[in-house]
Amino acid sequence: MNILELRDISMIYGTVKALQDINLTVQKGEWVALMGPSGSGKTTLMNIIGCMDKASRGSVVLDGVEFSQLNAKQLTAIRRDKIGLVFQQFHLVPYLTALENVMVAQYYHSMPDEQEAMAALERVGLAERARHLPSQLSGGEQQRVCIARALINYPMLILADEPTGNLDEANANIVLRLFQELHQEGHTIIMVTHDPDVGKLAERCIMLDHGKIVQHSNRYEGVAKACVNG
């Protein structure tokens, strides 16, 4: 079943063509890695899928809803209800505890539920650190809080833009293991990464260059090759 379908997506900033005629479909439960050199348009694409930007041209259909006709408020609602976001920088509210940071997402979605938020932190192995402020957590721990927050409203799609980009290897591995588990549980994930090893974990790897898809491999072996070459 397709949950996401991009058709002829282009994004133009003045004279910069950040994306050109991108076509892509993502199935439920897939893990897609988005790779490519710096400036190739990965973040731009993630922003369009994540309802944080509108494409200059083309159509995005998520779960049967076409984005181009929607206003800002409706886009916010889709992001809130269907998408979980994880960023390269961890982006936690600095004066709220780990637990409260997870609850903020519940608050804007529906209702804060402390037990459920606690369970989400347990899921990422941070139950003991629930009452700590972000400044008291390591980078890896902060990113795990972000993942817990991204999961809390049962999103249909998880978007992660270089989630391990700011982490050392040990922490990156913990985070990646989490994503693997999520994938096994059936979550749909699109992840931007520069790391071929991370790319290998995904089922599919998409290479962007100058705003175009230059390589698209579906098979596991091909993935490794494509990503390593990129």
Binding site: T43, M52, A77, R79, Q89, H91, L96, V104, Y107
Partner: protein
């Protein structure tokens, strides 16, 4: 959750918010001080200026014609006002602006002991007067001539007492406590009075003797009659319309006339006095009346100007601080938006934070302002300033207005802030 975020962001930005609160407190304190001074000292200044005496004199019409045409003081029969009509002064349209008034009945008298002639003035000293409206006012020369310096006491209304001018006292060698006989020349009417007080007015009254009105009426055999009335009224400064009316009332159009009648010009008040009291001619003592109003109005204008400027200053200050504060928080706000907060929710959150700060600052500023008001009152007007309750709602409205206006640029930034731009560190 809302409160946690609100509290957290307030605590985190406490320095900026503290500055915002201080800016508001300063603006509000000045506003509070000025408003209180304006409203309270306004009255007090007026009373102080009024100390220079009556600004309207009311005389019988026929007497005034004689005076105006031939320059003679009327002494003839029949030219008197009725004492019983004095209360009507407090029934005219501008009754509340009539602060004090006092009747005068003059005659020549001879002091038996020294065989010297003196002007005898019958008047109210501190008279309780029941008004047709059912109210009671206290009025008389004790209020009207508050600048007199008096040795001894003011005369009690019911007594057989008298107050002697200081010049007469020293010329005749009379002192407080002396009893004297007053004789009306060419009649057999006499009275024995005791000198209760000696006053110094700095004017021609210092050669005169003041007795209760009733006694003067008995001596002159003019029961219930009054020679003239001195009135002190708070007035609006003259303008073109007032001058036009003074020159020729008939030249006013109906609309102009209505405006004139319903403004507290000294001329309009005089006109209304004439309407109220039979056979009366009310004449403004113009210079005094005009300067009284003008000084007060200029003072109030100045205070209003300071208030407005200080509020504008506060608004600008707040607007800078809040813009900086929103810029500092843009990642956080972008994050909240990314997590699904819409513009309204972000606005409510930020405005709550700003209003909370504004109210705290306003509260502190109000009390600070009461203090300022006292300082201004004491140093500038030498009067204590009472806190006027009506200042509180005005200040509250101003706090909200100033904080909201000051937060407009910040609000615009918040609304236009796009999470994609701040979250990827571009």
């Amino acid at each position: 959750m809302f409160w946690q975020i609100l509290k957290g962001s307030l605590v985190r930005q406490r320095q900026k918010m503290f500055m915002v609160a201080i800016t508001i407190a300063l603006g509000v304190s000045l506003t509070t001080a000025m408003l209180n001074v304006m409203l309270d000292v306004g009255d007090k200044v007026n009373r102080e200026l009024k100390a220079y005496g009556a600004n309207i004199t009311v005389t019988p019409r026929s007497a005034s014609i004689l005076h105006d045409f031939y320059g003679v003081e009327a002494g003839g029969a029949g030219q008197y006002l009725q004492e019983s009509e004095l209360g009507k002064l407090k029934t005219i349209f501008w009754a509340n602006n009539i602060v004090d008034f006092s009747p005068i009945l003059e005659t020549r008298a001879i002091i038996g002991q020294t065989a010297s002639e003196i002007t005898l003035v019958g008047t109210w000293f501190n008279h309780r007067l029941d008004l047709p409206t059912g109210e009671t006012v206290e009025t008389g020369i004790k209020q009207l001539k508050s600048w007199w310096s008096v040795e001894g006491n003011w005369v009690q209304e019911s007594s057989q007492g008298a107050m002697l001018g200081s010049m007469a006292a020293s010329r005749l060698g009379l002192q407080i406590g002396d009893e004297i006989d007053l004789v009306i020349p060419g009649s057999d009417r006499t009275a024995k009075v005791k000198i209760e007080g000696v006053f110094n007015s700095g004017g021609p009254e210092d050669e005169e003797i003041f007795v209760p009105l009733g006694l003067a009426q008995k001596l002159t055999n003019l029961p219930g009659k009054v020679g003239k009335i001195e009135v002190s009224a708070i007035t609006t400064p003259e303008n073109e319309l007032a001058r036009k009316a003074a020159h020729d009332p008939k030249s006013l159009s109906l609309k102009e006339w209505e405006t004139w009648y319903c403004t507290a010009y000294v001329g309009a008040i005089a006109y209304q006095i004439e309407e109220a009291i039979t056979g009366a001619h009310a004449k403004p003592v113009r210079q005094v009346a005009e300067s009284e109003g003008a000084i007060l109005q200029k003072t109030q204008l100045l205070m209003l100007l300071i208030t407005v400027l200080s509020l504008i200053g506060s608004t600008l200050g707040i607007s800078n601080l809040l813009t900086a504060s929103v810029m500092e928080r843009n990642r956080e706000v972008g994050l909240l938006k990314a997590l699904g907060a819409d513009d309204t929710e972000v606005l409510v959150l930020t405005l709550s934070q700003i209003l909370f700060t504004g109210i705290a600052g306003g509260f502190a500023g109000y009390f600070l302002g009461l203090g300022f008001a006292q300082i201004i009152g004491q140093t500038v007007f030498s009067a204590a300033v009472a806190a006027k309750p009506m200042v509180i709602p005005i200040v509250m409205v101003l706090v909200v207005l100033v904080t909201l206006t000051g937060s407009l640029p910040a609000i615009r930034m918040l609304v236009s802030l796009r999470p994609a731009e701040v979250l990827h560190g571009r």
